[in-house]
Symmetry: C3
Subunit: 212 residues, 3 copies
């Protein structure tokens, strides 16, 4: 017991669910990497469908966490952290899904450099989130959790820079305003996914601070 | 007493206020339907003014709920649900108001198909929200509450599709980029109103799960 | 002791930190005023760098508040108010920073009337926030706190009008769609800063209602 025992009430349901959510996020971000780097039209269509399915799977995991939260007696503030963490992971996937949908609907075929670069930030963030959650479970290695949170924060800063420079470049080079709008929408959804990843890191950080 | 007794403390103030808020939302969404389907310039101007007034009325109801929350002793987590529900209903009206204001300021006269279709999703959501709240009061009919929440969730999915297809169509057919931006802004405010309706459904669902 | 004693636990750390955050916000909004009204390219570049530094300083103050929150035993709901207030002040600065960065990256040199008018709303809001926090500390003058909150709310309404009219004017006068997008992005970040200022006022109002 000890440390994060509040996160492992006797039913031991939360941690496995969070690990499931984080693995699902990792798969979604892997599909996004392929979607934004492949030249194959078929591959692209397949990855968009895959992300669609993974988003539904993620929704189910999130609802399971919320339902457990409703059933289990936990102190209010801790409940909130669990809720916020589940909701942040759900949001990351939603924004990945949103950007995939836009790539599809707006028929974006040239990805440029900013779109795959942001996809890479999201995937790296998903990797760190998996590391953080694995080491948080049972308080295996708190320093590893902290390190992963710091990395998720830097990835958000990096994504912010890629986004800003991407938009500025778009304004300079692209003269077709409708294309500017389309790319801006995709970049913006991707950048928001990294914001949500930072939100997840901040919730994890809050949990650690409270327990130390 | 029983079930949702926490929602009806002895002053019995919350439920009447929530019902008032939901009725006010219904009126606002009815005005939006007229605004987005009429061909009359006068009717349109009148509905915009009506939505403006209803938004102020909604603000007052929201503040009454917040003030009651400040005065009443309720357990922290429940407080939060009440706060979140009031705030979600307030947000729906704010985004209806925001879209009406944009229609007015950007002088949008041709509504196309996506704008009235989204207005219909919002109104149907408002109807379901009224059903949910009426059946939540005193635990009249929990299945009816659940069903209404499910419908509000599907309406958000439907709105999402209408929005995405509307934007994709806009990009294909409209060559005037400034018109694209204007329509996108209106569609986006309308779509966000249905997101907020889903938020309201999720809070109601949380309340039910906790009590069952 | 008395009134807001919960905000001044024995370590007396929260109020000094909030006053520091509010002063930092005031400096940031002053720099924004200069940035949006000067004709000097050097002055502009200098103010953008200044805002960048002030945003980092603000981040550090916010993290100090969050860390104190993690360490101190306070009842859950009050914790949340403290968290929300810190987060709202942090958000105001983030959106000032975001608008400064856009002005820089999008190479916006003509500010028009709406940009400096919104900067003025933000600065006036920052002044009122400082007044509110000073009078909240130790319950010096609750009427002064309320008055400052009312003013922050009106400033948000004023900003909303300036934003809406600014956008409508932009759509009418500016025929270059890419310029429309750029200005819209800057105006939108500035307007969101005033929304966050209203959020801060609402948290302060909640604190007052609860204690009265």
């Amino acid at each position: 017991m000890g440390f994060l025992s509040f996160l492992t009430p006797k039913d031991k349901k939360f941690f496995p669910l969070f690990e499931k959510a984080a693995e699902n996020l990792l798969k979604t971000s892997d599909a996004l990497i392929v979607l934004t780097t492949t030249n194959s039209v078929e591959e692209r269509a397949q990855r968009i469908r895959e992300i669609e399915h993974l988003e539904h799977a993620g929704d189910n995991i999130t609802h399971l966490i919320y339902n457990e939260l409703g059933k289990n007696f936990i102190t209010p503030f801790d409940r909130e952290d669990i809720h916020d963490l589940a909701s942040a992971i759900d949001d990351i996937i939603d924004f990945i899904h949103g950007s995939a949908k836009r790539i599809d609907l707006y028929k974006i075929d040239e990805m440029g450099t900013a779109i795959p670069a942001l996809a890479r930030c999201i995937r790296d963030g998903a990797v760190e989130l998996n590391v953080a959650l694995k080491n948080l479970n049972g308080m295996k290695d708190i320093d590893a959790v902290k390190e992963a949170c710091v990395k998720m924060n830097s990835l958000e800063n990096e994504a912010d820079d890629i986004f800003n420079k991407g938009i500025a470049e778009l304004f300079e080079k692209e003269k077709d305003a409708i294309k500017v709008i389309k790319y801006k929408e995709v970049l913006s959804a991707l950048e928001t996914a990294t914001d949500k990843c930072e939100d997840a890191a901040n919730v994890i950080h809050t949990i650690i601070v409270k327990q130390s």
